[in-house]
């Protein structure tokens, strides 16, 4: 640690962390409301999780155990480097196991394992404003949030049905939090939306470039928007995970060769590894073991 003495604990200085914590507290007090905060430059480009990193830096303590996932995986560039970053600047324990972690920073997924009380899920958010593509004026979207004028959100869903015959939004699917604010759950697949509802864990959202923090406190109602005659539905998969045989999980498509071979495997790598360690095998997992 001696050669890192120039860094404050968790990279940000204490005043900045205080400012971010204030924003987080306000966000928790008003579920789903986007709190502006003075986002800092981080040693990574916008779009790589600068918002999530700042939120994590503000809440992390020496006793915390950090897990970082990117599209469900613990071993992709973004996940590995953010994990290494906090191991270096905060000297905290890191893990890939969902149930061991106290803070989980995530991009695009919620872990398959149900989160417990005391855990914090930190989302990296590119565009916090759910109304953005329909209403470009920030002044107008703020007024719409303030007055709960959310008809426009349904215009988007109407368009989906008119063009595709069903609600074709598959990620960043808008939700209503605690019956009041409409919120962009960050680009998680809509498969994960039901996991946000009444979750025991605290969920924090950080958008670095857009300078917004918002939150879903534990045990908060999170409802995905829909039409009476076109109710909200999550994605379903024809086959279980090819490696561990898990069903009712979110799967990634992996191309195996250039002759059309492909397999579908768990997007949550920790979940998949844990199942395989317990002896669960999927269709292609058996073959590998046999070879």
């Amino acid at each position: 640690m001696s050669d890192l003495a120039a860094y404050n604990f968790a990279y940000l200085d204490e005043q900045t962390k205080r400012m971010i914590r204030r924003a987080i507290l306000k966000a928790i007090a008003i579920p789903g409301y986007q709190v502006p905060f003075a986002s800092r430059e981080m040693p990574m480009p916008y779009g790589w999780g600068t918002g999530g990193v700042q939120v994590t830096a503000a809440i992390i303590g020496p006793a915390d155990v950090l897990k970082v996932i990117d599209q469900g995986a613990d071993d992709t560039t973004n996940a590995v480097s953010i994990r290494a970053f906090f191991a270096k600047v905060a000297n905290v324990a890191v893990t890939t196991h969902t149930d061991e972690a106290t803070i989980i920073q995530t991009r695009h997924r919620i872990p398959e394992k149900v989160l417990k009380e005391g855990q914090v899920l930190v989302y990296q958010v590119p565009i916090p404003e759910p109304l953005r593509y329909l209403e470009p004026r920030e002044t107008e979207t703020r007024t719409m949030h303030a007055l709960s004028e959310y008809g426009l959100m349904h215009v988007k869903l109407y368009e989906d049905i008119a063009i595709n015959g069903h609600i074709a939004t598959t990620y960043a699917y808008p939700v209503k939090v605690a019956g009041r604010y409409v919120m962009d759950p960050s680009p998680i697949p809509k498969f994960d939306n039901p996991k946000m509802h009444m979750s025991e864990a605290l969920q924090l959202f950080g958008a670095g470039r857009e300078k917004r923090i918002y939150a879903v406190p534990p045990f908060t109602e999170v409802v995905s928007l829909d039409f009476e005659d076109h109710p909200f539905e999550v994605q379903t998969f024809d086959k279980p995970c090819a490696l561990c045989g898990a069903e009712n999980v979110y799967l990634d498509e992996v191309i195996l060769d250039d002759r059309g071979g492909r397999m579908f495997v768990c997007s949550d790598t920790d979940h998949c590894e844990e199942r395989r360690a317990c002896g669960c095998v999927g269709e292609l997992g058996v073959k590998e073991a046999a070879e």
Binding site: L152, Y158, D229
Partner: protein, 258 residues
Amino acid sequence: MTDTPLFKVSGVSKFYGARTGCRDVSFELFPGEVLAIVGESGSGKTTLLNCISTRLAPTAGTVEYRTRDENWRDLYRMSEAERRMLMRTDWGFVHQNPADGLRMTVSAGANAGERLMAIGQRHYGNIRTTASEWLERVEIGIDRIDDQPRAFSGGMRQRLQIARNLITSPRLVFMDEPTGGLDVSVQARLLDLIRSLVNDLGLAVIIVTHDLAVARLLSHRMMVMKDGRVIESGLTDRVLDDPREPYTQLLVSSILQV
């Protein structure tokens, strides 16, 4: 028409610094009545329209509206939430340029249905049915319901804008040069359509135009504006056939004869 006005404007003035937008305008509008505001460019027509439709706060004067529950409300003393609610339910606003009043990147059906969703309708089938009925009413083919207004001609866009405004059965509609920029045959069809809708629905309309022919065709009453003041007002036929003010006489005699 009833004896109770729907809309009362008294002493409305708007100054832009030392310049005058409009000065001391007062009038009443009754249910089902069409009022035309005419005048040359720069005479304050649009400023007045914006002032009375909550889009621009006047410097002085009051604008009152009789709501459905028979209360007189001063528009600029209402909360923003109430005002916006009024704008998207009981009122309509037809812009000169349809792109200002439409969402150009969503389909005609969604444009027409937006107000229904804004007031809480959550049944896709019902919204679509109502939207298609209205498109039919404004003579837009049902096969165009999923097309974006970008693919529409100017006249179709204007008709779509009208459908979008009328879908919640408003009682009062503001129109700012609704026929501007359209060629004469399209203009004629649009005027015909507006006239029949106004009659069928019993709408009160305030229409701003520089085209006296439009005023003649649509309005019951008209106000002539010059330099921000109303210089003459009365029944449309009276004003156009027997103009009293020299300026109105000039205006009427400036109409090109074919």
